[in-house]
């Protein structure tokens, strides 16, 4: 069979769909929780109270500040690993596994993606004030910007794009 002289497929990057970004994020978080943070499971089992209700746990943690301090430290370690996950993938491959599945990429408005940019993109994962505010602000801002950029993305001069082939 002769090769047909069809024009080659062209690829270009354009604004990523919000739904795809949400799905990619869910995939990444599941991956982090089920595989990467698996070693932390035993640690959590040993410190999280086996209680019948949320109020009892809350009451216990309020009375025992040492335990809440321990949980905070572990939360920081978990956040650090999760941030490292996004930073490493986006620096080395330009996309995290969730984004790989959905053909999404992270782009810098400057030349290359720098580590500080990748950190700022993921700083919403730091479990302390004021970073936790980004959990609410980031998605809201996303719906009001032209290129659906999160606030963290605007601050880091990055954006998430989708690869299309024609």
């Amino acid at each position: 069979m002769k090769n047909l002289a069809l024009p080659k497929k062209k690829a270009f990057f354009a604004q990523a769909s919000v739904l795809k970004r949400i799905i990619a994020f869910i995939i990444d978080i599941l991956l982090v929780n089920l595989i990467i943070l698996f070693p932390f499971r035993r640690l959590f089992d040993s410190i999280i109270p086996q209680t019948s209700s949320f109020s009892k746990t809350f009451e216990f943690l309020s009375e025992n500040s040492g335990f809440s301090g321990t949980i905070t430290i572990i939360m920081f370690a978990v956040a650090l690993i999760t941030i490292l996950y996004f930073m490493t993938f986006e620096k080395k491959l330009g996309q995290s596994p969730g984004k790989m599945i959905l053909n999404l990429y992270v782009e810098s408005s400057k030349k290359d993606l720098k580590y500080w940019q990748l950190f700022v993109r993921s700083m919403f994962l730091i479990p302390v004030f004021p970073f936790i505010l980004l959990w609410f602000i980031d998605p809201i801002v996303m719906f009001f910007t032209k290129e659906n950029q999160r606030l963290s993305e605007i601050l880091s001069s990055t954006k998430t794009v989708e690869k299309y082939k024609v």
Binding site: P39, L43, S52, G66, F67, A77, I81, Y85, T88
Partner: protein, 311 residues
């Protein structure tokens, strides 16, 4: 193109493996500073552990050593006693004894409790450990547990011959002839030995008094068995030093009978948060850097603390 894609997934897999290994090491590191906390939050029976040597305060260098400090135990007792949810307190004892003062402090605190108290002797509940056990309402021990050992010890290593052999002299500079009593660099005089023995006998007498009162025994009977000898659980039961032979189930049965409801154990342990442990370690290290190793040794040598009275 396809090859490039496969290569990308291989690299992704490698990154996942690296991050999982990193996560594993971080979790192991953190677990070094975390104690297992409690059995249940809904517990109505507090379990307080008396493990290892009994000391008054946790000293520097004991971060990873299993000791019981009377300061910590007293705090836990107060906390459990104050809690309305707690109906009884079980002391899980596995201790060969320790400081006479620390043991007496814990025993005195136990006597102030207005709730059912039980001592559960595991492998060893001897000397100071037994003193603490005797101050509870009821003692349960395994038939092979080591208990008793009602006596006082203050023996120490003397270095007078050693320093003499190495041409080192002990320059005695004291005002008050017994000021350097117990310094290991000189032999005890017969007068000093007598003085020492008198104090030990007095402490032994306090110990016997306490056991007699706590166990409702005649002082003369306790005196007969207070030779420092240890007794296994079965012997201790015959001598009236313990109330029952048994283990966890017997402890729960007794507590349930006393409180009239199902017993749910809640372990009361000293909180050892990561930051607390880390700051404790750093404080100790900075203290010693500042103080200097030499002066630290000097302080040890000049201090008459080289002798401790142990029950």
């Amino acid at each position: 193109m396809k090859k490039q894609q496969t290569n990308k997934w291989t690299r992704a897999l490698m990154i996942i493996i690296y991050l999982t290994i990193l996560s594993f090491f971080i979790s192991i590191f953190l677990s070094l500073f975390i104690d297992d906390s409690f059995e249940s939050l809904d517990g109505n029976v507090a379990v307080i552990e008396i493990t290892g040597p009994i000391v008054a305060q946790k000293d520097s260098g004991l971060l990873f050593t299993d000791v019981t400090s009377s300061d910590e135990v007293r705090k836990l007792i107060k906390k459990a006693d104050k809690s309305d949810k707690i109906k009884a307190i079980v002391f899980e004892i596995n201790s060969p004894g320790g400081s006479a003062v620390a043991s007496d402090e814990i025993a005195a605190e136990i006597k102030k409790i207005n709730k059912t108290t039980v001592a559960w002797i595991r492998e060893v509940g001897a000397s100071g450990g037994y003193w603490i056990a005797s101050s509870t309402d009821y003692i349960i021990a395994n038939r092979m547990s080591i208990t008793g050992s009602i006596g006082v010890i203050a023996s120490y290593l003397g270095f007078s011959g050693f320093i003499e052999e190495h041409n080192v002299t002990y320059e005695r500079l004291v005002s008050g002839k017994f000021k350097d009593l117990g310094i290991p660099f000189k032999d005890l005089t017969s007068e000093e030995r007598l003085l020492f023995q008198k104090s030990l006998d007095k402490i032994h007498d306090y110990f016997i008094d306490e056991i007699a009162i706590n166990r409702n025994l005649k002082k003369s009977d306790v005196k007969k068995i207070a030779t420092g000898q240890f007794y296994i659980g079965a012997e201790a039961k015959d001598l009236g030093l313990i109330d029952e032979l048994g283990s966890r189930d017997e402890v729960i049965d007794y507590v349930e009978k006393q409180i009239g409801e199902e017993a749910n154990l809640a372990k009361y342990k000293k909180e050892k948060g990561f930051l607390a442990a880390l700051s404790q370690t750093m404080n100790e290290r900075f203290f010693y850097i500042g103080k200097g190793l030499g002066s630290s040794f000097f302080a040890e040598a000049e201090s008459p603390k080289s002798i401790s009275i142990i029950t």
